[in-house]
Structures are given as structure tokens and as C-alpha cells.
Symmetry: none
Subunit: 118 residues, 10 copies
Amino acid sequence: MPDKSPLECFDNPSPDRDYVIEHVAEEFTSVCPKTGHPDFGTVTLRYIPASRCVELKSLKLYLQAYRNEGIFYEAVTNKIADDLAELMQPKWMILRTDWTGRGGISSSVEVELGSAPD
Amino acid sequence: MPDKSPLECFDNPSPDRDYVIEHVAEEFTSVCPKTGHPDFGTVTLRYIPASRCVELKSLKLYLQAYRNEGIFYEAVTNKIADDLAELMQPKWMILRTDWTGRGGISSSVEVELGSAPD
Amino acid sequence: MPDKSPLECFDNPSPDRDYVIEHVAEEFTSVCPKTGHPDFGTVTLRYIPASRCVELKSLKLYLQAYRNEGIFYEAVTNKIADDLAELMQPKWMILRTDWTGRGGISSSVEVELGSAPD
Amino acid sequence: MPDKSPLECFDNPSPDRDYVIEHVAEEFTSVCPKTGHPDFGTVTLRYIPASRCVELKSLKLYLQAYRNEGIFYEAVTNKIADDLAELMQPKWMILRTDWTGRGGISSSVEVELGSAPD
Amino acid sequence: MPDKSPLECFDNPSPDRDYVIEHVAEEFTSVCPKTGHPDFGTVTLRYIPASRCVELKSLKLYLQAYRNEGIFYEAVTNKIADDLAELMQPKWMILRTDWTGRGGISSSVEVELGSAPD
Amino acid sequence: MPDKSPLECFDNPSPDRDYVIEHVAEEFTSVCPKTGHPDFGTVTLRYIPASRCVELKSLKLYLQAYRNEGIFYEAVTNKIADDLAELMQPKWMILRTDWTGRGGISSSVEVELGSAPD
Amino acid sequence: MPDKSPLECFDNPSPDRDYVIEHVAEEFTSVCPKTGHPDFGTVTLRYIPASRCVELKSLKLYLQAYRNEGIFYEAVTNKIADDLAELMQPKWMILRTDWTGRGGISSSVEVELGSAPD
Amino acid sequence: MPDKSPLECFDNPSPDRDYVIEHVAEEFTSVCPKTGHPDFGTVTLRYIPASRCVELKSLKLYLQAYRNEGIFYEAVTNKIADDLAELMQPKWMILRTDWTGRGGISSSVEVELGSAPD
Amino acid sequence: MPDKSPLECFDNPSPDRDYVIEHVAEEFTSVCPKTGHPDFGTVTLRYIPASRCVELKSLKLYLQAYRNEGIFYEAVTNKIADDLAELMQPKWMILRTDWTGRGGISSSVEVELGSAPD
Amino acid sequence: MPDKSPLECFDNPSPDRDYVIEHVAEEFTSVCPKTGHPDFGTVTLRYIPASRCVELKSLKLYLQAYRNEGIFYEAVTNKIADDLAELMQPKWMILRTDWTGRGGISSSVEVELGSAPD
């Protein structure tokens, strides 16, 4: 299972202010643990930083590490949310995955941490 | 009538967290009990898991088992909702079917169990 | 005037649950009582069943019976609503008609019975 | 100025029920009282009837009578609203006009009578 | 600076009623006071009249008078709002300008006077 | 790092009134401090002025000064917000950046200062 | 079977010139001779007149006469083409019918008489 | 394998004329002979009849008979083409199938018999 | 009448090659010589240069000079074409103007000089 | 002026076959030699290779080198075309630039080398 070691942070340039950051990765791929077939999806991260922000290139490399990982939609969504939450300790965060159809079924999973901004 | 035996679960990887999962199966087909003609529709499942999640391939096989079943729109919608609710005991669930036109009439049925998330 | 005898019911498969059923008939036609010209429209039925559901093919035949009936938009909408309400005694119901333009004027009529679902 | 004599009513077929009727006339034309140039617009009537409904063909003829009338947007909108209100005494009514551009300016006027339905 | 003398009013044909009038002028042009280059934009007026309405052709001529005026977006928006408000004394008014891009930047300014209608 | 010296103000022409100004700069570019590759994005400024407004051409020149600056999305967004806030002291302000995809990931950052208008 | 007696002609006002006339009737309806259910479709007539043109209101009445006629798609298309060709003797004509779906199948039939225009 | 016995013909009402008939069946389903999973597609028939036309309801029943048939895309397309060609002996015919995606791949197969119309 | 003095040229950087240059000016405005009202349009220049190209900023200033010129659509189109042709002596050139509607009529004028490219 | 040294080639894997390659770079930026303001555009390369193909990352770095270059649209288009043609010696090539608007004028330049494919 990919660990979160590729993820890097940098100091929030404006830690005294609440503001919203969004990253949308449209080319995520992992492997279905049941069938061995590849899954394709979009990962959306939306958060209000506390003292740290995730660095974008490290996020890209971290997400690429799931390429050959056999993992359920629900598990990968929660794991990415957990890794990013542990790393950044954000004030609020949504992690959402949207998966293209397989066998005629398309899916999505959405995790929210902390209280939504007004 | 298809029983729910093909349905399989796996443990919710993050049971302490409320999050939303959605599966949309666009190629559902069953048979009209009145005329014997085939019906075609889309099945949408949206839920917050408790301790268990439905496994996607087993969901596909379960839905395929209605292929030659003579059953009303209203009955198949409630039966799928009941089978999935009994299997997963989710905290909240919507099961919706949207049917393509037959004789110039298109239809939909929507069942909601538990309280909607905020 | 078409009576409601073609309409048939079947028992609500889940009478203990509130859920929503929708049928949209896009090929409704009747006759204008003023000019004798044909009218064309869409009939939308949306309801929460109590103990009975309307059977789809019988609904189609019932609606076809208006084909040569001279009747105002307002009257046909209320009559269909009344016939279906008397037949099914639903918990809640909307009956709406949308008419294609005639002489540059398009029209719609909407009847609601009971309290709207939350 | 066109009087309301072409307008005809018929009895509301369901006077004990509140329901909504809409007519949209896309081919309305009158004349600008300032410049003498023709104006083109759409007239939308939306109402809940009390004891009477306006008959559609008579509405068409009434609206056609404005064809050579020199009248401001604001005046024609209020006059149609007044004529229909006096004729039908509806429980609630919206009369709206939308005018295509003249000299680079497009316009609309909307009148509401009674309390909006829930 | 254009004065408001070209603007003309006519008596509100229905002063006892609250209703909404909208005029959208898509071909407004003035001049940037900083660079001398022309600005192009759309002016939207939306209001509930009290005793007077603005006459449409006079509004067109009034707006054309800004053609060679060097004036900031913010100033022209407030000036038009002030001139129309002083002229008509409306119950409620929005005056909005939307400007096409200049140097890769597009802009808009919106002024609201009085309380918005329900 | 670009200082805010190119930014110029002019007096708010209507300081006693609350109104909203928006500028959208679609051709912003800076440099990624991690990889040295260029970043491309849109900068949106939306605010209610107090006594001063930002002059548009000076805003354009100020934004162009980031062309060869190595700076994170989060930092540039906050710096522009801070520079404009210090300059204009607006009653309310949103500064938002939307970045085109790099390595399959697109991003946005949004900062809000003061209380949103009703 | 409807005869062509309602159809009327008028003299082609420019018989020395080849030009194209098109009429599209979107509300055609007849009855399926196999099942007795209503069919709905669009009838498109496109032609270059010789000495005579078909009068529009008579065409509408002629097409309405099929309302309760049991007739195959192929037969009704050829019959309308034959009736119009006999009546008008056009230089060139296309008669096309497009039928909305029945039992999941939509259909069209197209007849061309004479040589297509360049 | 479905035989062609449900297919019925009727006499071409205009055998002396070349004209084009098209039927599009959007709800075709068969079974993949390799995996046992259902396939979903659209069947398009386009032809110029000689002495016989295929009757529409019999075509629907014939196509429904493939519902539980394990057969490759290529084979089903050719078999339907062969059955219809043998039945009708058309002057010209195209039989095309378009299949919804399975495992990220969508497919189509097209067979043409006789010479295309000009 | 604006003379062509603001127009500047620079040497065609690749005079030995035929290639196509296009400039589209969407904010052209002049004045109607008949009514005195402003006209708004788009000017499109498309050409193959010989030894000289028109410089873009000088083209902008040249076009702005028509702002208060009373001139017919046809005249302004031909004058711009003549000025640019005399200046650049291009191998081939199209000059087209597209005018927004006035009194419900929109117009365009297109001038071509030299032989069109293959 | 950027030289073509960053550009790298690789051997055409199928030199005996004519086929078309297209690269579209949407984030090109250079500087206007007249005003010093940045230009933004899209560069499209479309070609049939002979013995060599351009390597994609080297193309990206080559195009980025124009970031601070003062150069006319026409010159940059021809220079890129020349550099790529000299490097690859393609059988056929189109090099096109499309520039976002500046001062209300948008532009494009297109160079074609060799004979177009059929």
C-alpha cells in the first residue's frame, strides 16, 4: 500500500486567515482488488489549511503510487483523506473520488472532515 | 425472484466516519409482468455506510439476475432497497430507478431509508 | 367522456414506506372543444402511493381514450387527477399537463393533491 | 385601445381546488407610441383560477388586437393584467412581457396580483 | 459629463401596484480616462417604479451621450444610477454594467438602491 | 517578489453607497518554485469599495509583474489579496485564482476578507 | 382511407423559376394496423413547384384526416406522396415521415420523386 | 439461436418506387459468449424494399429473442442482416449495431448489402 | 473621414512564403449617416502578405478613428479595404464587416482582393 | 531570440507510411515588441513525418523559451515553422498560432509547408 512519504508540505503563507484551496486530479488510476482490472477516476481535494499546505508535485507523485495497487474505491478514498489529514491537519477538508463506469456501473465516494465553511 | 445471495460485503474501511458512496448502474433490465416485454432502466444507489459496504462486482451480478424476472417497477425498486438495506444496514440510503419509455410513457421510482445527511 | 374503467391497480409492494413514483406520458392527444382541432401534450403523474399503485399499461390505455374527446386543457387535467385520485387514494399526487403551441400560444396546467413530501 | 370584449370565459371545472394554469404567447406585437416602429415580444400568463378560466382562442384574438396599437411596454403589460383580472377574478396571477431588442435595448415587465402559491 | 436632460419620463400607468421593469442595453461605449481607449459594455437597469417610468428612446439617447466621455467604470455606473434615481424616484432599482475585456481583464459594477422585492 | 508600487487608486465616486466591483484577469502567469515551469491561471477580484478603488491599468501592470516570479499558488493568491487590501482597505473582498491543469491536476485558491454582502 | 379532397392548390406565383418550399408537420398521428395503438410522427414535405402549390390550411386538414386511420408507416408515406404528387405535379418532391419510438424502436420513411435540385 | 420465424412481412405498398425505410431499435440486449455478461446496444436497419417490407412489431419480437443468446457482436450483426435479407430480398440494406462500452471499449459493426442509393 | 496615417507596416518576416494572417476586431463602432445613431460591428481582415504586414496596434488606432464618423456600412468596408490594400499591397485579402442588428436587421459586407488561396 | 537547440528528434518508427501527428500547445506566451505587453496564444503543429519526429518534452521547453521574447505574431509563427522544418524535414507541415484578444482584436497566423494530404 502506498505510504504517504512522497507527500511534502510547505508552510501556509497566511496561517491567520481562513481560505479555501482545491486540487482536482483527473488522471487517477488504481486496480480493482476483486477482478484485477484497472480503475480510472478523478480525485478532488478541497480544504482550508491550518499551518501547512500540501505541495502540488508531491501530491501528483503520491497519487501516481496507487497505479498498481489493488484497493476498493471506498478504501482508497478514505486512505487518501487520512494521509492528507495526518500530514496537513487542515481546519476542514473534502476528499471525493468519481469513477468511470465498469460493467455499466459508475461510482463516487465523498469524505468530509471538520465543519464546512460558511 | 432473485435472492440476495450474490451480494457480498466488505468491512467499511472507515466505520467511525460518515461519508457518502454512490453507484449508478445504467444497464438494468427486467421484464414487465403484465405484457412480458422487456423493461430497461438505470438503478442509482446512494448511501452512508455503517459497518459494511456492498462489493461492486457482486452488486453487478445481483442486478443482472433480474434480467428475466417479471416484476413491476415499484416492486423491483423496493426489493433492491430491502435487500441492500438488510445486507448493509446503512445509516442512510436512497435507491432510485429511472425507466426508459414504453408505449410513450417513461417512469421513475425513488425510495429513501433513514435520515438524509446534512 | 372517457370513464376510468380501463384503469387497473395492483397492491403497493411496500405500503409501510413513503416513496415517490413518476410516470411521464409524452404522446397525449385530445381535441379542442372550441375549434375541433387536435391538441398535443405531455401528461406527468407524480405520487406517493398508499395501499395501491396504478398499473402502467392500463394507464396508457386510459390516456389513449381521450384521443377523440373534445375537452379543455383545464378540464382534462382535473378529470385525470380526479380519476387517479379516486382509484388509488394516494398520500400525495401531482398531475401536470404541458401542451404544445397552437396559434403561437403554449400552455400548462398543474394540480396538486395532499401535502408535498419533504 | 383594444377593449376586452373578445375575451371569453368558461367555468372552472374544479373550483374547489387550487391549481396553476400557464399560457405563453410568443408572437405578440404592438407599436411603439414614440417612434411608430413595431415591437415584438412574448406574453406569459400564469394564474390560479377562482370560478372562471380564460378561453384560449379568445385570448389569442384579444392579444392580436394590439397589433396596430401604439402603447408603452409598461402600459400594455398592466392593461392586459387588468383586463384578465377583471374578467376572471383569479386567486393569483402573474402577467409578464419580454421584448426583443430595439436600438440595442431589450426589456421586460412583470406584474403579480394576489399572493404567490407556496 | 452628460447631463440627464435627454431623459424623459411618463406617468406609471399602474402606480398602485408593485411590478418590475428591466431594460438591457448591450451596446454601451465610453472612453477610458486613463488611456483614452474606448470601453465597451452592457448596461442593465431593473426597477420597481413609483409614480414615473423612464421612456425607452430617451434612455437610449442618454446612454449614447457617454460615447466620447472619459470616465471610470465605477463612476459611470454610479452616475447613471444617480441620474435615473433622481429622475424616477423608483421604489427599488439595480443598475449594473458588464464590460468586455481590455488587456485581458473583464469587469463589472453593480449598484442597488432601496430594498429588493421579495 | 513584485511589490505593490505599480498599483494606483482613485477616489471611490460614491463612497456613501455599498456596491460591488468585479475584475477578472484571464491571462495571469507565474512560475512554479518547485519545477521552474510556467503556471497559467485566472485572477478574480470582487469587492465593495470604501474610500478608494483600484485603477484598472495599474492592476494589469501589477499582475504582469508576476510573470517570472517563482511562487506557490497559495502564496501568490494571499499576496495579491494582501497588497490590494492594504491599498484599498475595502469593506469586503474576494480574491480567487483558478489554475489550468499541470500534470493532470487543476487547482484553485480563494481568499475572502470582511463579511459577505447580503 | 382519407381521400385527397381536402387538399387545395393555388397558382405558383413564379412558375418560371425553380425554388424550394418546405412544410414540416410535427403533430401527425395515425393508428397502427397491427396493434391498434396510436402512432406519432413528423411529416416533412419539400418540393419545387411547377404550376401549382399546395395551400397550407388544406394540407393541415388533409393530414388530420389520418388521425383514426389504421395504416403502416410505409403505406401512409407513399399515399401522402402520391396524393400530393397527383395534385401538384411538382418538378421535384421529397416526402419523409419520422416516427417516435414504439417498443424501443423509432422509424423513418423517405420517398423522393423527380431529380434532386443541384 | 433465434430463428427468423417471428419475422413477418407485408407487401410493399409502392413496389415500383425506390424509397428508403429506417428502423432504429435502441434497447437491444444479448449475452457475451465469452464472459456470460449481458451486452447492450442499438440496432439500425436501413433499406430500400423490393416487393416486401418487414412488419415492425414482428421485428421487435424477433430482436427480443436474442435477450439470452450468447453471441459475438460480429455474429449477431451478420445473422440479423442475413435473416432480414432472406425474408425481404431488399434492393439495398444496411444493418448496423452500436454497443455501449464494456471495460472501457465501445464497438460497432456495419453490414451493407446491394448498391448504395445515390 | 479618417485617413490611413495611423497605419504602420513592418517587413514581412518570411516574404518568400505564402501564408495567411487574420485579425478580428470585435469592437468596431461608427455612426449611421442617415440617423446619427451609433453602429456596432466586427471587422475581419484576412490576407496573404507580400513584402509588408500591418502592425496590430496601429490597426487598432486606425479602426478607433471611425468612432464618430458618419459612414454607410458599404462605404466603411470598402474604405478600410482600400486603405489596407494601398498600404500593404497584399497578394490576397478579404475585408469583412458584420453589423449587429438595428431595427431587427443585421448586415454584413465582404470585399475580396486578388485570387483566393487554394 | 530562442535558438532551436532545445529541440530533439527521434527516428520515425514507421518511415514507409504517411501518417499525421498533431501537437496543440495552449499556453504559449511571448511579448509584444511594440508595447512590451505580454501576448497569449495557442500553437498548433500538424505534420506528416519523413525520417524524424520531434520529441514532445523538448518541444515544450523550446516553446517556453519565447516567454520573455519581444516578437510579432507573424515572425514567431514563421520562426517556429522554420526551426521545426529544418529539424525534422517533414513531408508536410502546418504551423498555426491563435492569439487571444488585445485591445478588442484577436488574431491568427497559419503557415503551410509542402503539399496537403488528401
